[in-house]
Symmetry: C2
Subunit: 249 residues, 2 copies
Amino acid sequence: MANSRSGDSMLDRFVRILDAFDRDNSSLSVATLARRAEIPLATTYRLVEDLCGHGLLARDRQGQIRHGLRLWELANRGAVTQDLRTAALPFMEDINQLLRQHTQLSVLHQDEVLIIERLSRPGAAVNQANVAGRMPVHRTSMGMTLLAFSRPEEIAGFLERHGEIMRSTHPHLRAEMAEIRRRGYASMDGYIDEDTTGAAVPVTNDAGYQVAALSVVVPRSTASLQPTIMALRTAARGVSRTLGYRRES
Amino acid sequence: MANSRSGDSMLDRFVRILDAFDRDNSSLSVATLARRAEIPLATTYRLVEDLCGHGLLARDRQGQIRHGLRLWELANRGAVTQDLRTAALPFMEDINQLLRQHTQLSVLHQDEVLIIERLSRPGAAVNQANVAGRMPVHRTSMGMTLLAFSRPEEIAGFLERHGEIMRSTHPHLRAEMAEIRRRGYASMDGYIDEDTTGAAVPVTNDAGYQVAALSVVVPRSTASLQPTIMALRTAARGVSRTLGYRRES
DNA sequence: CGGGATTTCTCATTCATTGAGAAGGTTGCT
DNA sequence: AGCAACCTTCTCAATGAATGAGAAATCCCG
């Protein structure tokens, strides 16, 4: 008796379970999973078994749960990211070779910056911007570029949802965005690391719509950003040309 | 009345829906999806709505369904593939630069070759081995390498399941695998393209277990594979060293 | 050895899931 | 315009799949 369903659908729970993993916690126990996803243990156990059966999760040698390869396969087969990635990779390599710094490709997703691809130099700064990781719009050059070059109605929507924090961190927001659009790039100090500066330019498709941002992280001491910007622009243009058509949601 | 449930769980259906997409069909209508996944239309409609609500699917401007970025994010956040990819990418770039040919990183998954990463030269051959795509073990150098360097019990299991086709396509299988292990690489003609040859070497972790294979596709006319093999070996060793520990299921 | 944790399983209860059906829209052909 | 074929969207009664408390079995650590 006494069963009180807890009001969330099965899919809710599947997603919460898959979402409970992150780079630091690549494998978890069922109990931890249950706590993190806030699902009763017995239920979690059953759901995890299901997911394992489908290969979306897998148990390692010690019985811990990790993401299964099948999940990765499923999500990467559909071409959402692949086109962009494939188009951008060669140019990111160029940048990486030329500037010898971290290079990132990112998009705006659910009001945050989502990193699609990243090339790092073995030397340089720390791990902070991982592939599939998220970063705040208002503190990164990628975010500010992505926002500034969005469609007016998208900008309006974003500001409606996040006007508070944007205005408090960017007192002259409208002017700043206009400036970014005029100059064609955004730069911003020290989110990833105190001693670094990020610089980002938009990547457009051939209809002129922005589809992503390309960015690098350089030491703060760098005298002039101009060479960096030039390299980024060249790369972005190359990606645009490779992409040709296509615009994604 | 008359409701006859069709015996597959919700998760089954979610997976079948997500699985219905491939690179060629990156966006589908609900009706097509229903047919492909073999789920009654009304049900498909509801499930798709759910998935869209969670961002695992998304509707484009024309109301067609595509994979959602959230799905990609979910699947890539957990570090299953990322470690391997990150470790291998720089070395794959080296190969790509040196040999100017397609380079692939793959693993054995559910008795097939699963492509984890791929770098292509704008010039060379056709799209066949896409990231997250699968290829048959018995027709690719990657497959043969991955198999030959698997643990004995894994090989035995594989042969139990696929002995038929393996023996018919590889009459001297045991000798062939022994040879691959002795030489440290496998090569194979013309799966991706009639006029190409694939060559692959194993990538091991520092416990000596194989975790992946690294391969290139070269024109069949290539006089000697030796330089190619050398480059692959160097790269594989580099990846192994970067990986250090870790072994995945 | 003992106590705290985790994994695994059972089972009666119930409500979320189901899918036939129908209405309304779109497209394309004649 | 009229018709046919197809698609999307929604409703609703019936039901069996999902639920979660509880308990047994197992692991782990000092």
